[in-house]
């Protein structure tokens, strides 16, 4: 393998890893950053997105629309879950964690009982290109772009929309936001729906690259959790990006040199080192530095 091929393949792997981390974690970190709740059923939301994408695709709906349906479906399920379950556990983070874990069990095992161990997978679009003697898939590059686009969209939503303004106010100080006329409960429902919807889109996008079964989303769980722990919840977008960029680098290098399992282990070790120094994640650490700078 010549140098060019090596560099291209390393960059390709890095982009691919980043795409996975961003997509697996984005829904999780939006909900965690806004509500402090870890949605243990994030993987199942990805599964729902993937299932709807597959069913829509085989019902003759064009692939992009099928993925969007996946996101909408998962988003609706999320809103219902928020209204029925999450709402009862406001302020009890560990309890909401356990309750959503129960939900995850019900949804994955329920899908297994109702729909069996596998459903029809969707073909990967776009074909591939070759560099040196290696061939690369265009769709993987596309997924990476979509991961960045979703992050940008989340950023724009929180920075510019009315919902974003209310959401940020709620995140900062719920009781004050309520006093100023923000419907905090509605914000929480919508945020939860947004998070699960993003997980649904992510599930739909990734479904085009793999087989789909009831436990499809769970395979992303360790990476998604590590990304959230490293990123922290203080700043959703910058935290997610910083976390994915650093973790992705660690994983890509180790994966490239050794194997994928050690890549995951290296991510965990990196995460443990990071939290030893920045217990609330990179974003919180940066935030604190910045506010100290402002004061000085």
């Amino acid at each position: 393998m010549d140098t060019l091929t090596f560099i291209v393949s390393l960059l390709y792997q890095y982009a691919d890893t980043l795409a996975l981390l961003l997509l697996a974690a984005i829904g999780l970190i939006v909900i965690f950053g806004m509500m402090g709740v870890i949605n243990m059923a994030n993987g199942e939301m990805m599964m729902i997105g993937a299932y709807i994408t597959s069913f829509s695709y085989y019902a003759g709906i064009p692939t992009p629309l099928a993925v969007i349906f996946g996101g909408l479906g998962a988003g609706l399920v999320g809103i219902v879950i928020e209204l029925l379950i999450i709402r009862r556990f406001y302020g009890q983070l560990l309890a909401s964690l356990v309750a959503t874990w129960g939900l995850s069990l019900i949804m994955s095992q329920g899908a297994y009982l109702l729909l069996g161990p596998l459903i029809k997978s969707v073909p990967t679009p776009f074909g591939s290109f070759g560099v040196g003697d290696l061939s690369f898939s265009y769709y993987r590059i596309f997924i990476f772009a979509m991961g960045l686009a979703l992050v940008a969209a989340v950023w724009a939503l929180f920075a510019f929309s009315r919902f974003g303004l209310h959401a940020r106010a709620t995140m900062e100080d719920p009781s004050m936001a309520r006093a100023l006329g923000v419907d905090v409960k509605r914000i929480y429902s919508l945020t939860f729906g947004l998070g699960t919807g993003l997980a649904g889109v992510a599930g739909g996008l990734l479904a085009l690259t793999s087989t789909i079964g009831p436990f499809y989303g769970q395979t992303y769980t360790p990476q998604a959790f590590i990304t959230v722990v490293v990123g922290g919840g203080a700043e959703i977008v910058s935290g997610l990006l910083a976390s994915a960029l650093s973790l992705g680098l660690v994983k890509t290098v180790v994966m490239n040199q050794v194997n994928i399992l050690l890549g995951h282990v290296a991510m965990l070790v990196f995460a443990l080192v990071v939290i030893r120094m920045m217990p609330s994640g990179i974003s919180d650490w940066v935030e604190r530095r910045r506010s100290q700078g402002r004061r000085a």
């Binding site: 379950i85 560990l94 964690l97 095992q109 769970q218 959790f225 995951h264 443990l272 939290i275 217990p279």
Partner: protein, 374 residues
């Protein structure tokens, strides 16, 4: 007050206290009754029933450990079975290697108890000394256990051996690996000619578990009702304030976390001793959600509820497993329903109602009166 009641009250002093439900004389009478039934159980249970019941009981230590850290100290770990698995594997690997040379499993027992505690100490040091948020501790433990599962699942190749023990990939340690050497049952020599083998089918194993269970239960009751137990509860309620009172919260969290790992590893060792096998499944999602279900549904703030809940729910899972794949859906609904309807636990809820009934009948008053009167 009756002199007898006062005597009982004094004897039960260390294990009775406000931090555990079930402290009235009727409760202790029932407790003695249950222990008596457990002791005579081998005489009326069939061989298979006893074997099965022993298996249920191995889980008690795992459940007690989780109850201690989650219910009392406020630390939730979603990867508690990792310590069970590490204990089982460490015991198995050392046992396979040393059983013939030594004729006993003392060193394997030590390895099985020590290795998970070391891992817990390392992880706990990182997590608690960083003052990590509770939700982070919970999910990091899950990540740790899932990665161990992934690692062990790919150890099927011949290269993955530790001495005579072949790790065996997803077949795990045991006769399923196609390897003749399986992890030995606990074999404890007490003197030159007094050797006890605690195989899963033996009464000795059953009595060992019952004995260890009673000792652990009473020991933990004494712990949570001691001064230390009150500090643990204070940490659960408000770590910052507890720190202001001069307690090293991080050190106590680390300590209690290691103790829970020790208890979990005991379950792991007993499990291997019972069935002479262990697979990477014990590190997976389902083995890790089970103890959370037992403790959450039964009542995480009560050791008594946890023990009863664990035994009942393991029994129920086995009954459901016969029906096919529906078991985990039902357990999921039990967990979610329990969390929503009785957040403090089903058994705790029932226990409190019985307690109030006793109070109204004036039965429990003796103990409580004694306590307040000094």
């Amino acid at each position: 007050m009756l002199p007898l009641a006062r005597l009982i009250d004094r004897a039960l002093g260390p294990v009775n206290g406000p931090l555990e439900t079930g402290r009235s004389p009727p409760f202790w009478l029932i407790f003695l009754g249950v222990v008596a039934v457990l002791v005579i159980a081998p005489s009326f249970l069939s061989r298979y029933e006893l074997l099965n019941f022993s298996n249920f009981l191995t889980n008690i230590f795992l459940a007690l450990g989780l109850c201690l850290i989650w219910g009392y100290a406020g630390i939730l770990s979603l990867g508690q079975s990792a310590f069970l698995g590490l204990g089982g594997y460490a015991y198995g690997v050392v046992g396979i290697n040393l059983i013939e040379a030594h004729g006993n499993t003392w060193l394997a027992l030590l390895a099985g108890l020590g290795f998970p505690v070391l891992v817990a100490a390392l992880l706990g040091w990182i997590m608690f000394y960083a003052r990590l948020k509770g939700v982070y501790v919970a999910i990091l433990m899950l990540v740790v256990t899932l990665l161990i599962e992934t690692f062990l699942n790919q150890t099927a190749g011949q290269g993955w051996s530790i001495g005579l023990a072949h790790l065996g990939g997803n077949n795990g340690l045991g006769r399923f690996s196609g390897v003749i050497r399986e992890p030995p049952s606990l074999t404890l020599g007490f003197s030159a000619d007094a050797m006890m083998i605690f195989g899963g089918k033996t009464r000795a194993f059953y009595y060992l578990i019952v004995g260890l269970g009673v000792v652990s239960y009473l020991g933990l009751r004494a712990l949570v009702n001691s001064r230390l137990g009150h500090v643990l509860v204070a940490i659960r309620e408000d770590p910052d304030r507890t720190e202001t009172l001069g307690y090293d919260v991080r050190r106590l969290q680390l300590g209690v976390f290691c103790l829970s790992a020790l208890l979990a590893s005991l379950s792991g060792i007993l499990y291997v001793s019972w069935g002479n096998f262990i697979t990477p499944n014990v590190f997976g999602v389902y083995y890790n959600i089970l103890p959370v279900i037992w403790v959450a549904v039964a009542g995480r703030k009560s050791l008594t509820a946890t023990v009863l809940g664990a035994v009942f729910l393991v029994w129920l899972s086995q009954k459901l497993a016969i029906q096919g794949d529906i078991a985990f859906v039902v357990l999921g609904f039990i967990l979610l329903g329990g969390m929503m309807l009785l957040p403090e636990g089903v058994i705790t809820g029932i226990g409190e109602r019985i307690g109030r009934l006793f109070d109204r009948l004036g039965i429990g008053a003796a103990t409580r009166g004694g306590r307040h009167g000094g």
